[in-house]
């Protein structure tokens, strides 16, 4: 199903080969992922797009070594996913910000550094840098619950970036936000991605979001989860709100939409 892209000339950040994942449930085995091959180049912003149940979140967790695949291999920057997690190469953000109420905003961003054993002074300095990056410096001493949902998600992104991870894994991090906040954070996310050069894998079920953010959109099909198509998005960066209004953006969006609908209604595909 998957086709190799031309961009293999740059170094590969994430290499997936023959990944399958079967979950055992009381009503029998469920194949969540079936024989997935995917190479993600260093510095890419790749979206995993698909309907519920297509295994996109599971695939993200396989990359992050939070789910062990039934078959296949994962390599992140030349090492195994387990080794990459152990050496703290991942920054993760989820649909729920998942901040800790018992810590201030700054101490939330410091948490991964504390886990890593970074000293107090450096921890604080790095956290303040990250808060500056997500433009929340003035809220450093607030409690998470004092912030809006969008601001909490920005803190979660700052926390994910604090260890300067090689790979940023994001599971619908903007899914719970209203449209205004969502588009604002999409722009912020692109700015941060371009500032840090991190490789991003981004799970979403929003077509415009995937197109706006990504260097490449990976469309997945459900039951069993497979890669249906890989669509490079050639729109130039920096992308702004004006980008959304261009013919090129709308053409790319239409293209992704057609591929996704082919996945949803295989019987009507191509008609």
């Amino acid at each position: 199903m998957s086709t190799s892209t031309a961009s293999t000339s740059t170094s590969t950040a994430i290499h997936l080969a023959g990944i399958s994942k079967t979950f055992s449930t009381s009503s029998g085995d469920v194949v969540a992922l079936d024989d997935i091959d995917l190479d993600i180049p260093q510095g890419a912003f790749v979206s995993l797009l698909g309907p519920s149940g297509c295994g996109k979140s599971t695939l993200l967790r396989v990359i992050g070594d939070l789910v062990t695949p039934t078959a296949g291999t994962v390599q992140v920057a030349g090492t195994s996913a387990a080794e990459a997690r152990r050496t703290r190469q991942y920054g993760m953000a989820f649909q729920a910000p998942g901040l800790m109420d018992w810590r201030t905003v700054r101490r939330n961003v410091e948490l991964p550094l504390q886990v890593q054993g970074v000293g107090r002074a450096e921890r604080r300095q790095r956290a303040d840098e990250m808060l500056e990056l997500v433009k929340l410096t003035q809220f450093a001493d607030h409690r998470p619950r004092q912030l809006s949902g969008g601001m909490q998600q920005r803190v979660a992104i700052a926390r994910a970036l604090a260890m300067q991870p090689r790979v940023l894994l994001m599971d619908e991090p903007l899914g719970a936000l209203d449209e205004m906040n969502r588009e604002h954070l999409q722009r912020e996310l692109l700015r941060i991605w371009r500032a840090t050069g991190t490789t991003v894998v981004f799970v979403t079920h929003s077509i415009p979001e995937a197109v706006f953010l990504s260097t490449e959109v990976v469309v997945m099909s459900p039951r069993p989860g497979r890669i249906a198509s890989r669509i490079p998005v050639d729109l130039p960066y920096p992308r702004t709100d004006e980008t959304r209004l261009t013919d090129e953006f709308q053409a790319a969006e239409r293209h992704v939409r057609e591929r996704l609908h082919a996945v949803l209604e295989p019987s009507t595909a191509g008609l």
Partner: protein, 270 residues
């Protein structure tokens, strides 16, 4: 278009209206009840040995203040020691129980069942073990009374970890100890204090009742038992009042410590 910046204002937390404000209606009701009590005794001509008037009890409290204070000291000491020991033991037990996630639910159910038993009923047995005049037997019964609700609350808190927190800590390769220190224990603090409030109330009951069965010659429970035996009910009521004050003070202390330890929970009394 880009001028349309999204509105993102920090949400204001509802500020606590001070520690005492919520108590005002309760205090008012208390005063009304005391006045009604006084009226019933005077108008109804109730004999003092059956029910002394609040004014008579107040007179005894004032005149016997030194006696009450010296009796309150060993009682308060036993209660405070029991609350401290019960909290430490309870938290340690909870951490151990929560380490075995498979068994934890079963053990928790057993502990909750044990909590249904009237622990104070063990007082005569503990008196026999530790000596009826020693403070140790009182502290032991009360410690058990505190430990059980603290274990039930804290263990539930430790077992309740949000999936996002768990996955996040896993993604940064946090150890089990780090998960415990940074997520589970702070997350369990509100539940710990819920248990401790119950435990603190039970501790006062446990110490007073233990003292009924023999105490250091001077303690509130002993005073209550002895004056009642001599039908000096005005003195008995005065000692009961002192014991209630002790319970109230302890409850207030727990509430204050909770505010300091759990500042993210908009704490209110009640």
């Amino acid at each position: 278009m880009s001028a349309l910046a999204p509105v993102e204002r920090p949400v204001r937390l509802p500020r606590g209206r001070g520690l005492l404000a919520p108590l005002a209606p309760a205090a008012l009701l208390g005063v009304v009840l005391l006045v009604a009590w006084q009226l019933v005794v005077i108008v109804g001509g109730v004999q003092a040995y059956l029910l002394p008037a609040p004014s008579a009890i107040a007179r005894v409290i004032l005149s016997d203040a030194p006696v009450l204070l010296s009796a309150a000291r060993p009682t308060a000491t036993a209660v405070v020691l029991a609350v401290l020991a019960g909290t430490v033991l309870g938290v340690l037990a909870s951490v151990i129980i929560a380490m075995f996630e498979g068994l934890a639910r079963v053990v928790l159910a057993l502990v909750a069942l044990a909590g249904c038993a009237p622990i104070v009923a063990l007082a005569p047995i503990f008196n026999a073990w530790f000596g009826s005049t020693s403070i140790a037997s009182k502290v032991a019964v009360a410690t058990l009374s505190v430990t059980i609700p603290v274990v039930v609350g804290t263990t539930r808190g430790l077992l309740t970890v949000s999936e996002t927190h768990r996955e996040y800590m896993q993604s940064v390769s946090a150890s089990r100890l780090q998960l415990l220190l940074h997520v589970r224990l702070p997350g369990a603090l509100p539940a710990l204090f819920d248990g401790l409030r119950v435990g603190a109330t039970l501790a006062v009951i446990a110490v007073i009742v233990s003292e009924y069965f023999g105490g250091t010659s001077n303690a509130l429970g002993v005073l209550i038992a002895n004056t009642a035996a001599m039908s000096r009910f005005d003195q008995t009521w005065a000692a009961v009042f002192a014991a209630s004050l002790l319970g109230l003070a302890l409850y207030g202390l727990v509430a204050v410590v909770e505010r300091l330890a759990v500042p993210w929970r908009s704490a209110t009394l009640g």
